[in-house]
């Protein structure tokens, strides 16, 4: 008896007991569906979050904080940069919301005070005009670069370079419009206004900077952070060591921590889904055992007319595999639908994980084999006379 015959027999066995077969499949459908769904969602979510984080700047180290005597100023930022050979770029970041007025329209936007390196590190530059340069910074010029959304909202989409707007009542000249960037970590990047950080500090009447970002692309984040810390100690002496008011965050560390956290979470999801797959497999074994017992007479008849052990073994084993594979395939479609739905809803680029698909198919087949072998073997080893006598 060849494999085609075995498949045919298995198929007949399945359609003869449609409802029972469906119930058995249900375990696999839910199991495989959730495995694919969970793994895909986990992986896609991880990819999306990491992509956004790294778009903010991989290889960057952020210095923030400061208190009392030890404050974070532009001078300190320059001092640190001088002392750290691995730092190639540096920009301060000062953020606040202010009202902007053009003509008779007034709206509130995020104003960012920064330096020329911002554009270089972010890899983001104006579509029209120029970004803030060093002389703007040195002379605290009243210039600004606006986001695309602001161009639309305040200027009706017309080219605003050369025109002016008022930030907190002060007149600024628009020198550029940033390229469209979209959202990052759920926030739009296109409704911000960039001005020289020196200008901003004067506007706010302070010397304290919120953050300074350093880029050290050729050195490990860890070493670069150590360098920066050393420079701070150098500047403030032992006092900095006793009571360090500064916070140094490296983006790579953050990335790694995030990655680990999300990875653990995804693993947890997959584990839960895997348990449901296991339960599905046990369901298959359960029902196959019932089926073998219920069909004892059939087994006796087949044996009496000459079926060998392997004939019955393959008949029941293939039946179990066919059930689990069909259940697995339906579950696969379900899982794909689920993860696509979530990906679409969340705006992620990656939908179904091909790894999950492979995993689900291999898994459902091996579960059918693993949990089918015991019942099938039971059928194959039955004594024909006893089986025939079974009522």
């Amino acid at each position: 008896m060849d494999i085609i015959e075995s498949l045919r027999l298995a198929w007949i066995g399945i359609v003869t007991n449609k409802f029972r077969s469906f119930l058995t499949m249900l375990g696999m459908i839910i199991g495989v569906g959730s495995v694919i769904g969970m793994i895909s969602i986990g992986e896609a979510g991880q990819a999306a979050i990491l992509e956004q984080i790294s778009s903010i700047g991989s290889g960057t180290i952020t210095l923030s904080g400061g208190r009392g005597q030890m404050t974070l100023t532009l001078d300190l930022a320059d001092y640190v940069r001088e002392l750290c050979p691995s730092v190639t770029h540096m920009y301060p970041l000062q953020q606040t919301r202010m009202s902007i007025k053009v003509g008779s329209t007034t709206r509130s936007y995020t104003i960012i005070g920064t330096a020329p390196d911002y554009a270089a590190v972010q890899g983001w530059s104006p579509a029209v005009g120029t970004f803030i340069n060093q002389s703007h910074l040195d002379t605290r010029m009243m210039v600004c670069v606006i986001g695309e959304t602001i161009q639309t909202e305040l200027f009706g989409g017309r080219m605003p370079v050369g025109e002016t707007l008022r930030i907190n009542g002060q007149v600024f000249e628009i020198i550029g419009v940033m390229e469209r960037k979209g959202t990052s970590l759920g926030q739009s990047m296109d409704n911000q206004v960039f001005i020289p950080v020196s200008t901003m500090l004067r506007l706010l009447g302070t010397k304290n900077v919120q953050q300074v970002v350093f880029l050290a692309p050729n050195e490990s984040n860890y070493l670069a952070a150590a360098e920066i810390r050393l420079a701070l100690r150098h500047r403030w002496g032992p006092a900095a060591e006793r009571d360090d008011p500064f916070r140094i965050t490296s983006m790579d560390d953050l990335l790694e921590t995030m990655n680990e956290a999300i990875g653990t979470f995804a693993l947890l999801l997959a584990g839960i889904a895997g348990i449901s797959l296991l339960v599905g497999g046990i369901g298959i074994m359960n029902i196959m055992l019932v089926s073998v017992t219920e069909r004892t007479r059939e087994i006796g008849i087949r044996k009496a007319i000459g079926a060998k052990r392997k004939d019955l073994l393959s008949q029941f084993l293939i039946e179990a595999v066919v059930i689990s594979l069909s259940g697995g395939s339906i579950g696969l479609l379900l899982g794909i639908a689920l993860s696509n739905l979530v990906a679409t809803y969340a705006g992620w680029s990656q939908g179904v994980s091909p790894r999950a698909v492979m995993l689900a198919i291999t898994f459902s087949m091996s579960i059918g084999l693993f949990f089918g072998i015991y019942p099938a073997n039971k059928a194959a080893r039955m004594d024909p006379i006893e089986a025939l006598r079974y009522q």
């Binding site: 008896m1 060849d2 044996k303 007319i305 000459g306 079926a307 060998k308 052990r309 392997k310």
Partner: protein
Amino acid sequence: MVPAIIELQELSKIYTMGDIQVHALRRINLCIEQGESVAIMGPSGSGKSTMMNMLGCLDRPSEGSWLLDGVEIGKMTDDELAEIRNQAIGFVFQNFNLLNKASALTNVEMPLMYRGISRSKRMEMAKEALAIVGLQDRMEHTPMELSGGQQQRVAIARALVGKPRIILADEPTGNLDTRSGLEVMAILQELNAQGMTLIMVTHDNNIADHCRRIVRLRDGRIFANETNSNWVSAKVTLGKLPLVAEEDELTGAEAVPTPLPGSTDLSSNQPNTK
């Protein structure tokens, strides 16, 4: 001399149930030649079914030897026995043992599937076998849609489809009325006439009279083994049955006159094949 197809030597079957040993068969010696027809009779519990299961290679002897064409059966593996059941033996059961959810055709072609014959060839052979038992227009019916007699004929078709050398029937007419029983016997006699060795178990003397030899068992021993001098042809008996309306089989069956007066003559001037 015709070689013995079946030879049982000092064969015993002992069932052990806890401390109790049941001697179902005790030191049986029996020789059956190709083409014979043998009825096995005896009171309930005398070991008839046990012997049939042994001959049908469904079970192994506890002691002694059982030679099929001179080959020892007791030493064979399960799969080798399965192969013999498939190739050499056609078994007909008292309770038919058909797959209730499968059509007559599927039931009949099943033994051939385990022989590795192609589906189309199987269908052809199964249709032929069903035609032999007169069920050519019932092929797609499931057993539940057939009468008892028809079900037993399906079972006979399944037994004969592989052209076995031995047909074993354990009370094949036990669940049938007289007419259906005679029809079944007529088919079995026809197969025997064509050369198949027929061995059957029955409680009914009239049915046993369709065989050339009668073996009587008691307490697991053979106490009589003799040529049947009252051999009758089931076909002839059927022909002499009063014509009954098809829809009233039961009345007809009850009206069968037994035993038939002319039966002895028939047996003497109509020798078995070979």
